[in-house]
Amino acid sequence: MPTLPPAARSRVALGLTAAAALGRFELQQCRDCGMVQYPPRESCQRCLSVRLSWTRQDDKGELLAATVLHHSNDLFFRERLPWRLGLVKLACGPTVVAHLHADAPPAPAKLRVAVRLDRAGLAVLVGLPDKENVNMADDRQLREFTCDPKHRKVLVTDGKSAVGQALVKALAAAGAELIWVGHAEPWKRLPGFDELQKLPQVTAVPLDVTDSKNVRELAAEIGAKVDILVSNAELHRTHGIASRQGVETARAEMDVNYFGLLRLAQEFGPPMRARGADGVASAVAWVNLLSIYALANFPPHGTFSASKAAAQSLAQCLRAEMRPAGVRVVNVFPGPIDDEWNQLLPPPKLAPAALATATVGALREGVEDLYPGDVAQEWLERWRDNPKALERELSS
């Protein structure tokens, strides 16, 4: 197992990790007096209220001082010296210690502070230059906190769906070095796939996630080279319980959506774990295409929802097993995608290209749970606010 950054945190500090998982810059704020405070505390340092929430904050700040560490007491950082740090006064109040991007100008200087998950899966603050530039993501330190597809090798398990093809194009555009694209039933010619194969980065590989032998053989061939695995094969039928006799359709959904993930995880998990945090060319991420229906069942798509809920639970197990290796498991929870299986649902629906762009963005920003699009965002807020209410709303 590779070395990881220090992972001990108090429970109250995990609020920052919860925000980072969603890619949000949130700090603890007092609901009574409005004080924004950091490091996280159990009570407000000004009015002593315990009514504290994590709320979105302005990410602007001023770099007060910077240092470059040439010595560290921790193995993870020892292997990565020299290491830049900054002391930043945030516009919203507190002074924070942050990892510092190499392009940040000398103090005093304007700065932006972002929250990122580190290789231990815990939130850290990163000081970024005030102005964006195209190669900003290439920063050596920043890449320790992100899973940018640039210069990396990716496996997309299903290249025949609209979402799969959009993902491959987005990954190629993001600078992925090599993309293996899985296709089940290679004898079937499906629209768009030939065009995809013309991309110089793309290599098509036969992959049927319901076939254990096929998954094992592919893992033996390329498992030790995959930096990012995108598990996007899915089977989506539109049934509740009463609308269909028997369990065959539900079983088929489970075989792809749940057991497919399990087969991939059993075969590709170990080689990727062995290459986690392995210098600059390491396994960094595993992306699961789940569904917002994994949070709460959508009765018209009841068995599909159940298979995605099962997959989400398994993905949490996978995340726990991959975290010690520094490999991030990114779960994507889209609302209805604009494809044939959601044709009866009214808009807004998520275009495959938008889903792909958001997924690449999540890898770049180091997000762990992605809710792409307006529908998913709204459901997330409803679910966080009151899961029971959402259950009722979905079934009416």
Binding site: P5, P6, A7, A8, R9, S10, A13, Y38, P39, P40, L64, A65, A66, T67, V68, L69, H70, H71, S72, N73, D74, F76, F77, W83, L85, L87, K89, T95, V96, V97, A98, H99, A107, P108, D118, A120, L122, V124
Partner: protein, 387 residues
Amino acid sequence: MRQPYHGVVLAAPVTVPYVRYSIRSAHWWLARAFSSLLEKSKLKKEEIDGLTVSSFTLAPDTAIGFTQHIGLSPRWLDHVPLGGASGVVALRRAARAVQAGDAEIVACLAGDTNHVDSFRLTLANFSQFARDAVYPYGAGGPNASFAFLTAHYMQRYGAKREDFGKLCVAQRANALKYSHALFKKPLTLDEYLNARPIAEPLHLFDCVMPCAGAEAFLVLSEEKARTIGLPYVRLLGTIEWHNAFSSDPVQLRAGWALDREELYTQAGRSPNEMHFVQVYDDYPVITLMQLEDLGFCGKGEGPAFVREHRFTWDGDFPLNTSGGQLSAGQAGAAGGFLGMVEAIRQLTGEAPGRQVPDAKIGLVSGFGMINYDRGLGSGAAILSSDE
């Protein structure tokens, strides 16, 4: 109005010689310090009825558990886990106990061990804020925190590395006359400037070296000290403050700046009457901060002050006359006692080879606990051997 400290004295300064690494626990070092106190004072264990203990590595024990280790049955006890402020604060607690008659003779102990990996573990779990919001950022420990403060101070007040170097070089010269100092070789300004970087702008000789060791002294009434024939020094005045100036975005000052006037008023003396000064010096920028906040020069005038004075024991401003922690080593909480013990030695004529001529009055300052981004605790005491 603060009550004066009339009739309270300090005596029996002792040091358990430091080593870089020790396989012993903190209990061993504290027990050695206690036994050295008894040996030096010729007191019996039963005559000590008060105890303070300061240590980072005594866990899971505190002062009360330690009494059973050394078979002591005190009627007054305090655990003072305040790092570099421990010496001044332990003195203040003990002095009031003696004045009030709650204890007759208080032993103030500070000591820590240093195993090969114990410093890392101390840092990783130093405080909740350190664990949540500092250690995951490169795990630089106090080097990183003081790098920020030093960089900011340099930028704000124009201090140069040469200014910090002058202090370090002078302290090394002092340490060469102090047999317990871990550093035994002279240091030149060139060696200081050419040392390898640790956490820029800090380089090797700006950073204390963690080690194992212990320091201790007694606090008792003047009358008692006379009866048993112990050389002693009086406590003329003392202050402490914690978490001062908490809304300053970055630390440039600490609690001394709030009530130094009360310190000098209580002592009936002014800064320019001090014959020597012992400040807390885990990093030289903190020395400048203390000289400013204690009124030896104005805020931001530290660099000029350094350029104008000589800081060796025989200089015009004797400072950290046993070498300070930078040259003696930082034995955990004992680092907060180093200056106190040295001040008692200077005032009782027990500093051979580095004795400040005619030293009758001196100031000791403590600073401790980088809980998050700054040192929280500060304190100071003025001691005198004048009749």
